[in-house]
Amino acid sequence: MVLTPIIFKIILVLCVFGITLLVATYSTYAERKIAAFLQDRIGPDRAGPFGILQPLADAVKMFMKEEMIPTVSNKWLFILGPALALLTACMTGVVIPWGKSLIIGGHEYSLQITDLNIGILYLFGVVSLGVYGIMIGGWASNNKYSLLGGIRASSQMISYEVAMGLSIIALVMTTGTLSLKDIAAAQHGGHWNFFIQPLGCLIFIICAFAETNRAPFDLAECETELIGGYHTEYSSMKLGFFLFAEYINMFISSAVIATFYFGGYNMPFVGRFVHDPNWLAVLGIVFMFAKISFGIFFFMWVRWTIPRFRYDQLMNLGWKVLIPLSILNIVVTGVFMMRHEIMAYFVK
């Protein structure tokens, strides 16, 4: 059978979907193991060797728990909340280039599901929609703590989206494209955007922490103030969806950070030893996932290192530090890019 492009795309979509879910599942295990490591504990070790089956046990527990929908809640929106959270989390994977093209039987198959020429904007749009799941869930629960958690989450995400967008603008200025494929390809040979845009990279990573509602920005589910935040009223797998969406977001954020700033699937020095394009593509995927794994580890590392911010500190950091810094970054980038023209203007 000839592997037609459409069949290849379908297989790719299924693979990306499956891998996203698998990575998110094992991120829960990794989180507990890394927390244990950082706190000098052993961590889960009962289910299977080294506790490797722990995520399965957790999933079974989640599914078997009694499902409760509060009678005073808005039933449809209550169900829509976690569904939207998981949907928007899964939607971002399609524009990420997971590797170079595979060549099978003389045909080239791109390892990116779709190369939109507005890829960054698509990503940004989906991220900006991610807040609806939390807001709707928090409101529909008809609980003060849930509402406060949902409102906190949404104002936090809106605030940090601004700084995130501004930090991407500087990246777009230097790369000159909105397509993630071109951005990844342009970083070939160690020309990582991290070295060109270190400040933008830092701002983007901080904003990614805030957008995924991860510690130190997890005020939406601040236990000491809000019980469970927006998912206080949720039980069973609906709660599982919210928690799962967070891990998917973490995975996708790591993938986006790796693609934008750390070379994506490009790998140092391997091109000198390996020449077969298919092996290069496979190695590219391996390197991409190594970078993503480090990104996920970094997310967890920070969570167990830095305590939670206070809410006013969070807002001050977002509006008074990150946004001016990212605007400064844009100006400096622009001046640097136009330096010859500016010099020519003053030095006649």
Binding site: N74, L77, L116, N117, I118, L121, Y122, F124, G125, V127, S128, L129, V131, Y132, M135, I136, W139, L147, G150, I151, S154, S155, I158, E161, L178
Partner: protein, 166 residues
């Protein structure tokens, strides 16, 4: 033509969700239907090959402005008890005024013919490269004026938000 069917489908969705915005009793539902309306309109932009506009439409309207709407409505916690009641006279005058506007619109568009596309030569005019070039060359002044307008609105909002002016 699939685009024709898509056009009718998206128009149907946009009008239906638009009606639902007006007809739903719950303001939160109205906001959510408005978000869906914006999605249908973004679909229209994609059909017109204006991908950039579609993406920005989603980011700005669905992703930011409607979130703020939702935010405010959730904080106000509107429900039946707090709903302001208008007098019958006001309702009747609103119905007459909007009905007249509808008649004007129908009258104006009754004899409308198919308007030919002005820029058939370049179907990629909506793509971001071309849009950027046009915005920063032919329409530079309106573009900058619009940005000053936004800046003015922002300064005004900050002034209003200040608790006390020293």
């Amino acid at each position: 033509m699939i685009t024709t069917y898509l056009f009718y489908f998206l128009s149907f969705l946009a009008i239906m969700f638009g009606l639902m915005v007006v007809l739903s009793k719950n303001p939160i539902h109205s906001v959510l239907y408005l978000v869906l309306t914006f999605f249908a309109i973004a679909g229209h932009y994609v059909l017109l090959n204006a991908q950039f506009l579609a993406a920005v439409h989603i980011i700005v309207y669905a992703g930011a402005i409607m979130v703020l709407f939702l935010f405010v409505i959730m904080l106000l916690n509107l429900n039946k008890e707090t709903e302001p009641h208008k007098s019958l006279w006001l309702k009747a005058s609103a119905a007459v005024a909007s009905g007249s506007l509808l008649i004007v619109f129908v009258g104006a568009l009754k004899n409308a013919t198919n308007i030919p596309a002005t820029n058939v030569a370049n179907p990629n005019v909506g793509l971001i490269e071309n849009l950027g070039k046009v915005l920063f060359s032919d329409f530079l002044l309106p573009f900058e004026v619009a940005s000053i307008l936004l800046l003015g609105a922002m300064v005004g909002a900050v002034m209003l938000g200040k608790k006390s002016i020293k």
